[in-house]
């Protein structure tokens, strides 16, 4: 939280949000803050059900905080803004459209003066970036889970959003496919200019992809811990097996356990755990 207001593209300060349910208000966020500088990549981890998806809906302008501010580009978010791109665990591609038409969907909705051909070119360009050239005319049902998720990422970026919100996009994929997609994320970041907020359950993913990892406490969530990842932009998977990375993963793991409200004694047995992030992939 050291950045000054001017250089943070996403600024969430002291946000409170409660859902109104039949059983009365359900406080989900209570005093959560995060700042993401322009072009930065922030990962948010936290126990299941602590309000991570709620946070993404606040940033997308689909939901508004009871208290506190959600600010993008120094402006308070009061409605959905089409400078945001979203992707979820479920790729939600439209089965009746080709992959290319799925990717170009945002360009049909966000006002722009691109011709049909220019839109398609944008689709081709993105699909090539994620290694899906040749699949433009296929239907989503003809693709594997990992390919569908790549197409979903392309759709999220089609209209050149400045904010990319990813809600556990790799959660349902197997470990190897997931690692492929991490690499693709790095390539996309290299080619496209966006500020990213990634929700994940995978600590290794957060350390491999992000510049900053935020741990949310249990519901109602506040910011519990912020870890700065000192790696540069160029990363390889081997980086995850350095002592430095192991220490970060361990740190995060402890923080998650605190967030889950587990007794700290348990921690004594954990340091030997070879795969600290493998606790809860997806949900």
């Amino acid at each position: 939280m050291s950045s000054t207001p001017s250089d943070a593209l996403i600024r969430i300060s002291d946000v409170k949000h409660a859902y109104r349910t039949d059983a009365g208000p359900l406080p989900v966020l209570d005093g959560f803050s995060v700042e993401v500088p322009e072009g930065a990549f922030t990962a948010v981890v936290g126990p299941s059900g602590c309000g991570k998806s709620t946070l993404t809906r606040l940033i997308a302008g689909l939901l508004f905080p009871d208290e506190g501010d959600v600010i993008l580009h120094g402006e308070k978010v009061t409605s959905p803004r089409n400078t945001v791109g979203m992707a979820f665990q479920n790729p939600v591609l439209l089965e009746w459209r080709t992959i290319l038409d799925n990717v170009c969907l945002p360009l049909e909705i966000v006002p722009n003066d691109l011709s049909r051909k220019q839109r398609n070119d944008r689709g081709y360009e993105l699909l090539a970036m994620v290694g899906l050239q040749g699949f433009e005319d296929k239907k989503p049902s003809e693709l594997s889970g990992g390919m569908r998720q790549r197409a979903s990422l392309c759709r999220a970026l089609a209209h050149r959003p400045d904010v990319l919100i990813l809600d556990e996009p790799f959660g349902a994929l197997d470990a190897f496919t997931r690692e492929d997609l991490w690499q693709i994320m790095h390539e996309l970041r290299h080619n496209e200019a966006f500020t990213c907020l990634l929700i994940t359950h995978d600590l290794r993913e957060s350390v491999f992809l992000a510049d900053q990892v935020v741990v949310m406490s249990g519901r109602p969530a506040k910011t519990q811990y912020v870890l700065d990842v000192p790696f540069g932009r160029e990363r390889v998977l081997d980086d995850l097996y350095t002592p430095e990375a192991t220490q970060m993963l361990l740190d995060l793991r402890h923080q998650i356990q605190v967030a889950q409200g587990r007794p700290l004694e348990e921690l004594e047995h954990e340091p030997g755990d070879p795969e600290p992030g493998a606790g809860e992939p997806g949900s």
Binding site: R57, A60, M86, L94, L105, P106, I109, K139
Partner: protein, 254 residues
């Protein structure tokens, strides 16, 4: 399966069915008034060919009109129920209750309510008996739309109408056509119920009724076959429309 085969299979099945039927009547030595045989049907059709054409047309257009009404009503009410939970909770019991009423008991009510409006009465009954599956399919299709679909479009600033047009409607089409296939057969039942129970001198139902009165059993059977043929015809019209508009949902079959 080649397209020739796909065409031939049902026809062969039909011929086998007719042969079995003929054989059954012959071996049991059933007289006409117990069970007419397929070979009696030809002459019956020929004798009343103009009536079959005229009354068949009556029954067909009334059924289709009833179906159109059912589609219009079902889509609008299904949309209302699909998008609003309150409306869904309010309307479901009403719809189910109405659907549970045996339609034969509705015939006299409708006939009295709109005395002499035979066409309208018949169309109304076809409508009443067939709107339920359409309404339910649309409302379920819309209410089970995964929230992520909505969120993606909403976050881009799309209007509700855009969401309906781009996602909800196409996504609901397979269920809609499934329901329409059921509705087609139901609508024929509705039309004929009105034509038979409240005979007014038109439609295949009336032809059936006059066959009964004049003890012309082959004619009665011929009417049943004609209805079956029309039912099959309309059903396949729906199948073709489904292929055109919701063909993408069919891949699991192959």
């Amino acid at each position: 399966m080649s397209s020739k085969q796909r065409f031939a299979t049902p026809i062969i099945a039909l011929v086998i069915f007719a042969l079995l039927w003929e054989f059954l009547v012959w071996i049991n030595d059933w007289p006409n008034y117990v069970m007419a045989s397929p070979s009696d049907l030809g002459p019956a059709f020929y004798k009343f060919r103009w009536l079959f054409l005229e009354f068949g047309w009556d029954t067909l257009w009334r059924t289709v009109a009833g179906l159109m009404l059912a589609i219009a009503f079902g889509v609008v009410v299904g949309m209302i129920m699909g998008f609003s939970r309150t409306m869904r909770e309010a309307l479901y019991p009403l719809l189910v209750g109405f659907n549970a009423i045996p339609k034969a008991t509705v015939v006299p009510v409708v006939a009295l309510l709109l005395v002499g409006q035979h066409n309208l009465n018949t169309v109304l009954l076809a409508f009443m008996i067939s709107f339920f599956p359409i309404t339910v399919s649309i409302s379920i299709g819309l209410s089970t739309l995964e929230p992520e679909y909505r969120d993606i479009l909403l976050s881009l600033g799309a209007s509700r109408l855009t969401i309906f047009r781009k996602i909800a409607l196409p996504k609901t089409l397979p269920e809609f056509f499934g329901a329409l296939k059921v509705a087609v057969t139901l609508a024929f039942i509705g039309t004929n119920l009105m034509e038979i129970v409240e005979p007014h001198g038109r439609g295949l139902g009336h032809l059936f009724d006059s066959g009964k009165i004049s003890a012309d059993y082959p004619l009665m059977f011929a009417v049943l076959i004609a209805l079956a043929v029309m039912g099959i015809g309309l059903y396949y019209v729906v199948v073709i429309l489904e292929k055109i508009f919701a063909g993408w949902a069919e891949r699991q079959e192959s």
